[in-house]
């Protein structure tokens, strides 16, 4: 498996774990009433921090086990795959932001808008990473 594919798997896994925990907490908190913006700040900080620590820790282990691959510069195929993933994610995030920034402000409170924006970023980023992984898996060449 290519080093950049492993890195995509790692980033995807850490992100899904962190935000699955965060959104589960949010769903449970919503049952007990409307959370405030400041009230969601600490759980969000813990989720984002936990994701960062997980990616940094596992990334360091991955880098140590594949030192030569890590030092290799991204070739044309790596760059094409990265651009393909980012372009698809751009359209996903664009659609999400149209919903969040244009439709939601006319009836939803600010904390819901912010969490919907966060969900849109997580979905777009997951789509980007999945496309990168599938491009490596399927031998996409651009």
């Amino acid at each position: 498996m290519a080093y950049r594919e492993k890195l995509a798997w790692l980033t995807l896994g850490a992100m899904l774990i962190a935000y699955a925990v965060y959104f589960t907490w949010l769903a449970l908190a919503m049952r007990q009433g409307e959370p405030t913006l400041l009230g969601i700040l600490l759980p969000f900080g813990l989720a984002a921090g936990g994701q960062g620590i997980l990616v940094a820790g596992a990334g360091a282990v991955l880098a140590a086990s594949a030192r030569r691959e890590r030092q290799d510069r991204a070739d044309e195929r790596d760059r094409a795959i990265a651009r393909r993933g980012a372009t698809a994610a751009y359209y996903v995030l664009l659609a999400g932001m149209i919903l969040v920034g244009v439709v939601m402000p006319f009836g939803e409170p600010a904390w819901r808008i912010v969490n919907a924006a966060l969900l849109a970023i997580v979905v777009a980023e997951a789509g980007r990473l999945l496309l990168i992984i599938s491009s490596y898996r399927r031998g996409w060449h651009g």
């Binding site: 980012a86 751009y90 939601m104 600010a110 808008i113 849109a120 970023i121 777009a124």
Partner: protein, 172 residues
């Protein structure tokens, strides 16, 4: 000498366009976005500076901007397609797809960063700004967050078009 004649014949017979169809579309997209969203955000900024942001008026202005943008862009793109129907019917070639991917990649980075910035600025937009404007209501707070996200969307779309134009120009 024969080369010069060849070039002249080529240009006269083929009527090759100096600008790619997709580049023209991006120019139209960029110009209309700057014009329409520039006017919309200037009006919004004026109402905020005067301390009287009215969510209903902002909604009307937004709906008008979207309709105007769609009408101008569709009319301009149809006009370009009628002028050069052969170019408009052709699917994107590998070079054009690569340009689109590069620009999309840049626009994604810009949009992600701006959305995160808006999220971090939400307490400022929802608590401090409505009080500073003298209208501490939830509707004004939601209007401010919505317009900040709309501005992020528009900026990313401008970067997307501008990036494509720069790449088309560089490779022309």
């Amino acid at each position: 000498m024969s080369n010069i004649i060849y070039i002249e014949c080529y240009r006269a017979n083929m009527e090759k366009s100096l600008m790619a169809y997709r580049e023209k579309v991006q120019w139209v997209s960029l110009a209309t976005m700057l014009l329409v969203w520039g006017a919309y955000f200037a009006r919004l900024a004026a109402s905020l500076a005067a301390g009287r942001p009215i969510p209903g008026e902002t909604l009307g202005g937004f709906a008008g901007a979207v309709v105007l943008l769609v009408v101008i862009q569709v009319a301009a793109i149809v006009a370009i397609a009628i002028h050069r129907p052969s170019e408009a019917e052709q699917p994107a070639d590998p070079r054009e797809r690569e340009i689109e991917r590069r620009a999309g990649s840049g626009a994604y980075a810009v949009l992600s960063l701006l959305v995160v910035a808006v999220m971090l600025a939400t307490p400022l937009l929802t608590i401090v700004a409505p009080v500073a404007l003298g209208r501490p209501s939830g509707t004004v707070a939601a209007m401010l967050v919505g317009n900040a996200l709309l501005a992020a969307l528009v900026l990313a779309a401008i970067v997307h078009s501008l990036w494509q134009i720069l790449l088309f120009r560089r490779q022309s």
